[in-house]
Symmetry: D2
């Protein structure tokens, strides 16, 4: 139906349904009951949708006048009309029932309107898969992470710079320290911001409370330069130059990571794979092991890793779904990831800082022994 | 699959397929061909997806190692591996065929991964319905508008203030003047900005090139006051106070409109229905006549009108889809409209100014007699 | 500079700076130092921006060739060039210093580029006020809420339906129960969803884990009907029909609320003010008392209340800023609120569920006696 | 003011203004005039803002009660109150004047509220620089493009895949063919989609009207493979394999382009620079020549090129602003580009398809000799 071309009005194309066949044939007559008070409906009223609706009245199928959703069907003599409840008076008769399949004398006949495979009782609200209006099931997310950890799963984390700017570094460190991270696939920028934060307390010159700092625009260049002088990120950690943060946690705990280069990079830091094919090959050695993947606030890396990631894994036997969580500020990145084939992604529409914070809170509650 | 809970790995829940039944039973063996040159595949190669894939090799079904999408399946002796084409050399053997249903010895077995009703050949890209990345079919939109006009259809237009701020007023006037608008359902703000533009050349004090104007923050209040002094919008048009714009076009051509009040209103202008139930009742007299509806850059009014609008009309006989076009800057408003039950909405993700401009251009080209 | 018209190249309009005046006059020569190793800069190097930059070399001001940001200025004889550090070898000479005002022989001359009031040391990153990439200072938010409570402040809460859909109801109840809420200004939909959740456990038929329910599309109509049958929301609470949620908390604690009507409303619930001017007048009795306001996931109500809200309050004496926090999934709503005059709004770009959860967590930690 | 920490209420920090000094000292008394009719104000009324406002009444400065924006100040005896015009009756007295600097007896005293550099007459709406609600000045954009062409400017175009998906290929070809494009900096994906469209009529398997095609998910791999078999994009054009599109236009007209590799690439196509540092170096040879740059629907490439691009050029003499236009569906990408230092970017918030279409339309109208 959302295909505009298919919605073209072709007078000859649309036909009335065949009332001699199911769901119409042998359906009972519809039942009507009076309003107990002005603007108050009898319990069990039929609530309308915006789809073609037929009502069995005295053995004939009639379509109520003035159709719309969220109303009731009022019977006035032989006339049926769709009306807002607030406009009705005590004693007026409204159609009753919740079934839309004819079993209570009412058929919602979606044929030709919702695609071939739809039937009755299909009209519903809140059906968009990825939406900021859907609740995020953090309990389930936390339970899954703890299960993966306990069963020896392999969780890939793929994150973007906003996670570092928004100061979710400490929460990410906690997940690394507690065994929820088996590999990290990121770009140069994540490491640069993380190390700038470790050395200078800023990211691109912005403090942890969002204020600018004096001479701030050069700080990431100075951070890169100090690591280049140290020789490597590992050396910068060992020498004490970098004392905290994501890279520090990864190096000190021996968690593998890939720093993939991009044309946007400053520096780059030592260890960044500037050849994108070499970076792909390095990344894939981790994607083939994954039993789960968590993408946070990154379009390029999420799509790149999604491209490599099977929708399933066979670590425990037959193919089982590979848990793929995609967190982004807007629905667009999640849907783009799906549009590039990673249909299994479960979308969480929120910001990186809050996601990390709330997820950690739930994991700590679920598995207090983690901390 | 995007239901996280459903994606829980339950070791006992997943089983290998039954290879004694279709699509596996009686399928031929897969065919392999050599690469004609390093990194160049034979025409007709099998392109992988991220779903579980089985290949009939020597009468046994095998799952290639290291699965991922956008690759090929390479045979090295009895081993099958999923590999990027760029990594292959001349003479290496890759699986051939486009069918995923076993008819060429390859089965893409999505069961349990894409929901119950999915089969082979279902993996695809770009399946999100509403996306800024999808082409807008303006030819079809223009053709539909011209058809509605010629066949005596009834088009509702529901627009938000951004249409006026972005200076698509002249294009809207053109659609009104040329018979493509049968009723307009808007709020106080659209009329206020339109009349401020008519009197002062600004909207909320911003000029048509986006610059601020001196004393600009009071101009909409002065515009409202002048219309209140005139007594009505109609009087303001007749007296020459308002010489151009949307309200001018509607009044001078006798096109009906409803100005529905909201708690956000300044003024309000004379004629605004401040009682929201009275406004709903007034709006519904137009929604019951509609054969098409166009929503542009408004969440509140689109959802309110969508709520009243059937998914079909019966103007030409049996129920035919009611063309519903929803234009917004982001996918969210279109999806929210669908989530409130207006599933038939065709989403156009763009801004109001450009939509009006391009649509007019196509309509003019399609029906040059309109101008 | 982001005014396109102002950026027009008018050959005669642009002039070289007057080097005989400050910041050029009497500035020292720039200092250069050699790279200690290939691709490693001397500490204290000058990090470039994209603005016109002049360097005092041998008493003459020269503009380095090939300007760009995030690079260094290399001196090769009398030539100065802007080059990426990675391209430089041990011993090459780069300009030193952090000052951009001439005091170290380097002038970043932004005149005509960043507007009239800008000077040196102004180039910086991360200057956008409202961005998902900025950290949210929850400590400060929590501290402010606790201070307002302790000092007898008056906090208005204005929320949209997404807060209820996303199941932040329990967190909102907590804030109400603990004295952080002095008045609530919302629409019919928030109350409808909240009461549907209280009676049926769903919102618009969606369960708290995001699943559809059987017959779900009628549940909000049944919830509304039961409250209409009860006579009022207060009666529905007292009778035990509504046992939890936002409305329950407000009614049982005697916190005032305004339910403002809109054209989108189903029902409406008893107590909703359908006349928008009457609703404005009711709302304003609370805005004039406010010392703080929190807007969450609502455009219409945030702008309506923002329109009524002074940027300051005088509760404690001279005008002090009125804390105004605007939480939304995208930057757009916050910026639109500012564009409608509520410039003082502090934007938090996240979703309603997480915001409420994290804010509660911080408030509980800050003021453990609250719980 | 949008710094939350700065907005902390510190009772001792806020002081009443010094009424003995300007703008208060020697200001005249405010003037009041009666309403000519119920709800109708006298022309020239003072329209309020939400900032602290003082009115000189009988030689004393008073702050009207119940402040808010978009209202008037009513005098009832010695009392001043801020009231909505609709609530006033004929004959009531309201303050007059547009000046906020005391010259008409009214002072809007923003000190401490809008930052240090603000004064009177600063309150305004619609001040956000980048917004979908601002009109796009296509006349000016078109004029600038034509001027650059005529004066021998050097225009860089940097575009993302959405331009190809949304079928703006033909419009881009037109700009290339007509001399508005001096260099193109893109990624592998743009070339892949463009060539898939040239060979198969699809992009990622989606047709030009947005429909899926049979076997569509493999078509981009087949397109890449055919170009790899041909040896290069240039060979694919010369052999007739690629007969239309962006790459065809660039190759046949000899316009230089850089295809920069990324970790997200399939293939890649021959000619893609997989080494990101090599790609940066290649790109920079074009950025140093640019007099203008146009970024469309790309975050990675826009930020990468923005990073290399000076805010000015010296092609015609002294530093003149380098026209930088950034087109994206949301404000976020434009603001992110600014946050990475490209402050000069002029944001156009729309989709790629419409932007190209409307811009071409205006350029054709402006310079009909172009076509």
């Amino acid at each position: 139906m959302s295909d505009l071309a298919a919605a073209k009005p072709a007078p000859t194309a649309y036909q009335y349904p065949d009332f001699s066949k199911p769901p119409f044939a042998r359906a009972p007559e519809a039942r009507f009951e009076p309003l107990p008070a002005d603007g108050v409906l009898p319990e069990g009223f039929f609530s309308t949708s915006n789809l073609p609706t037929y009502i069995n009245l005295n053995g004939r199928w009639a379509m109520p006048a003035r159709p719309r959703m969220d109303c009731v069907v009022v019977r006035r003599g032989a006339e049926l009309e769709t009306i807002e409840p607030r406009r009705l008076k005590r004693g007026e008769l409204v159609a009753m029932g919740e079934a839309e399949d004819g079993s209570q004398g009412i058929v919602v006949y979606a044929e030709g309107f919702l695609g071939g495979s739809h039937g009755a009782n299909e009209f519903r609200f809140m059906s968009t898969e990825v939406s900021r209006e859907r609740p995020v099931n953090y309990e389930e997310l936390a339970r899954r992470l703890v299960e993966e950890k306990r069963s020896g799963g392999y969780l890939l984390w793929v994150v973007g710079p906003a996670l570092v700017h928004s100061r979710a570094r400490a929460d990410f460190e906690w997940f690394i320290a507690n065994g929820f991270v088996q590999a990290v696939l990121v770009g140069n920028a994540v490491a640069v911001h993380d190390i700038e934060a470790a050395i200078f307390g800023t990211t691109l010159g912005m403090t942890s409370t969002g204020q600018p700092s004096q001479g701030g625009h050069g700080l990431h260049m100075r951070a890169i330069n100090q690591v280049r002088a140290a020789g490597s990120i590992e050396c910068a950690v060992q020498s004490g130059l970098v004392k905290s943060g994501i890279m520090h946690a990864l190096v000190t705990r021996g968690i593998p990571f890939v720093l993939a280069g991009s044309i946007r990079d400053d520096g780059p830091l030592p260890g960044v794979l500037n050849d994108t094919l070499e970076a792909q090959d390095a990344m894939r050695e981790y994607t083939v092991q994954a039993t789960g993947a968590i993408f946070i606030a990154t379009a390029l890396h999420a799509i790149a890793v999604g491209n490599m990631l099977p929708a399933f894994h066979t670590r425990y036997g037959p193919p089982a779904p590979l848990m793929t969580i995609c967190v982004d500020q807007t629905e667009f990145v999640v849907n783009k990831l799906k549009d590039r084939g990673t249909h299994q992604a479960y979308g969480v529409v929120t910001n990186a800082q809050d996601f990390m914070h709330v997820l950690r809170f739930y994991v700590e509650r679920w598995a207090p022994d983690s901390a």
